[in-house]
Each structure stands twice: as structure tokens, then as C-alpha cells.
């Protein structure tokens, strides 16, 4: 099974690199320093989780970046990271704009962060998780699992990527799965 991919967007290069080293045994970690760069990457690749520095300085703040990402990917979990702060309010507002969780860069971070990441990954759409688990059972994730009579075909991995990217296809798949599940629930064939 592949390691989950994490993208860190933080202008404190030092800290970001240290976080990468801290997490790399369990996750596949990339680091960027600017909001713009991060958004680019998310368009091009797919990630399982984002760590965004709330106090990002520069053209875009951490919250800006998060809001923008949420516009095209509603499913990806985002954890905001901040330096020590005294007042919670602005951070809470930021969280309400779509963050899954937040972590402070304090002395307990090395313990808290991995937990927060796991929680966030767990909290993802139950559908996705189920899907992910099932698709990961395929020995060769590149195996085609879906074909259409119009010439398209998809491998397990591809589907997973699309879902994680929350692309059109990914979105539709998710939505349809939800519909299916609902229907089955209605029919009493599946327990919710």
C-alpha cells in the first residue's frame, strides 16, 4: 500500500524541512514555501492531506490559500499550522473556513502532529475510505477496473487519484456512490 502523500505549505523552510524529516517514515512529504506554488502543485498532483502555515507571509496568507483550494477540492483534509498564539478567535474563524484541524508549533507538536494527521485522514469521507481500502486490495493498482463502451478506461489508481483531486470525475464518482448507498439504505439492503 502506498504511503499517503502530504504537502506542506510553509514559508519557514527550516521548520518545514524538520517536519518532513519527522513524518517521512509514514508519509510521503513534499514542501513548498509559497501559496501560489502550493496551489499549482495541488492542481497537478494529488495529495492525501495538506499542512498549511496559517501565518504564511507573502502574497497569500494561509487562510487565503486554504479558501482557494477549497474551491476546487472539497474533500482534501487541511490542517492549519500556526506559531504560538494567544488569541484563538482568528484561528477559529480560519478553521471554520474549511480546515479540518489545527496544530500549534509548540513543544508538543512532534507528538500531536502525527495524531492530527491520522485523525484527519480518518475523518475523510467514509465513502472514500472504503473505496480506498477496496481499491488498495488490488494487487496491481494500475489494473483497469472500469471500461466504457465509448473507449474510456480507468485503473484503480486513477480512480483514486481523481477522487483525491476532487476532479469532475472524482466528484461524480463520489456523488454517485453516495446515491447508490442511499438507495440501498432505503431499500433496506444496507444498514447505515
Amino acid at each position: 500500500m502506498e504511503k499517503s502523500k502530504i504537502l506542506i505549505i510553509d514559508d519557514e523552510r527550516d521548520w518545514a524541512d524538520s517536519a518532513k524529516m519527522l513524518l517521512q517514515d509514514k508519509y510521503d512529504v513534499e514542501v513548498v514555501e509559497h501559496g501560489e506554488e502550493g496551489i499549482e502543485k495541488i492542481h497537478q498532483n494529488y495529495y492525501d492531506l495538506l499542512l498549511i502555515d496559517w501565518q504564511l507571509m507573502g502574497d497569500k496568507t494561509g487562510t487565503d490559500v486554504m479558501v482557494e483550494i477549497k474551491k476546487f477540492n472539497k474533500v482534501i483534509p487541511i490542517i492549519l499550522v500556526s506559531g504560538k498564539i494567544d488569541e484563538r478567535k482568528p484561528l477559529i474563524e480560519a478553521i471554520q473556513k474549511g480546515a479540518t484541524d489545527y496544530v500549534e508549533k509548540d513543544t508538543e507538536l512532534p507528538e500531536k502532529l502525527p495524531h492530527a494527521i491520522e485523525n484527519a485522514l480518518d475523518k475523510r469521507d467514509v465513502v472514500i475510505r472504503g473505496f480506498e481500502k477496496w481499491l488498495n486490495r488490488f494487487e496491481d493498482p494500475n489494473q483497469v477496473v472500469l471500461r466504457t463502451l465509448s473507449g474510456k478506461e480507468y485503473s484503480a489508481k486513477q480512480i483514486l487519484i481523481e477522487i483525491k483531486k476532487d476532479s469532475e470525475i472524482g466528484r461524480r464518482i463520489r456523488e454517485d456512490i453516495v446515491k447508490v448507498v442511499l438507495e440501498l439504505i432505503q431499500k433496506g439492503e444496507v444498514r447505515s
Binding site: 473505496f131 471500461r147 466504457t148 463502451l149 456512490i177 440501498l184
Partner: protein, 199 residues
Amino acid sequence: MHAAYDPPSTFASSCAAEVSSMLVSINCTFFEIQGPKACKSEIHKHLLNFSTDTHGFFNYGHGSEVALFGYKGEVILDMSCAHLLRRKICYVISCLAAKEFGRKVISNGGICFLGFGGDFEYSPFYEEIFRACANSGAKAMIQKKTTAGEAFKIMKETFDNAMSNLVKDSNNGNWIVLLSLFRDRDYLRLLGDGSASLW
């Protein structure tokens, strides 16, 4: 008509093969145009020869909103020759054909058109299920001599049952399969006169 030249079309052909055997078993005369022969000229030739008779037209292969494809993707029927399916009951297991093409067929004299308004999806690991669903309509009309409308209903039910069974069988959920069944079922369309029947 069916032609196997790539995995999807191979699957389609396998469905077609089932239908062929059904027809054989009831001693019905039919023309099977398959493989390389499934080209425009052949199809057109045949259709023209039987233009005035009421028949069934079974197509298994690639399709788009405005066309049906034959061997190696050659366009065999499109909007301009929709009239060739005059007085035919069309059973089309292809993607998207029911959208524009199907409508054109009906407006040009086709009796009815049973097809899909979207991509027909299937999972290579579960081909039997999809074959059964895909052919359930044909089966009904051929063996049980139902109307197109009834066949349509039966097809829907077959998809439903397939989904239910799937859920019962495995506890993790074969999501892709379920998904595809779900979508295929929803894309199923019946255009034209549902009361028509093959016999």
C-alpha cells in the same frame, strides 16, 4: 452487429454472442454481421435490403451521442443515415447513442430505441454480471416475447437485483461495480413506441 477489436468491444461481442445463441435456440432467422465485416457498406447493404420489414436491430459496440461504430471504430451509422433504421426495433448496447442518435432514429421512422443516454460502464472483473444485465432486455423480448416497454422494465430490475446481490455477497462493497451498475441503470432509455414487440 458486433465487432471485437478492443477490450470493450470484445466484451460487447460476447454479449452479442449470447443473444445469437438465444436466437438460434428459437430458430429465428437473423443476420449476424460481426468482426471485420462490420463495416459501413455491409451494414448499409443489409439494412437497405430489409428496409420495409419490421425487424429487430441489435447493436453491440462503441457508440457516441451521434453515431455507432463498427470494426476498428469505423462509423457505420450516424445522424445522416438514421433513416436506415426505419421500422426497426433497435436494441443498442453502446454508450450515449440514446441521446441524439436514438431520437433521430425515432423521428425518422424507427419504431423504438432501447439504449443508453450515457457511458455504459462495466468492470472487467465482473463481466458476467454486466452481460446478464445488458442482455436481460433482449432475453425478455426474444424468449418471453415481451414488448419493448416491458423489456425496459425488466432490464432495470435486473440491474437492481444485481446491485442487491452484490451488496449481500461482499461485505466491503464492490464500489466500482455498484457504481457502474447504478449508472448504467440510470442511463437506460427507451425511446419511441414501447408497445412494440419483435413478433
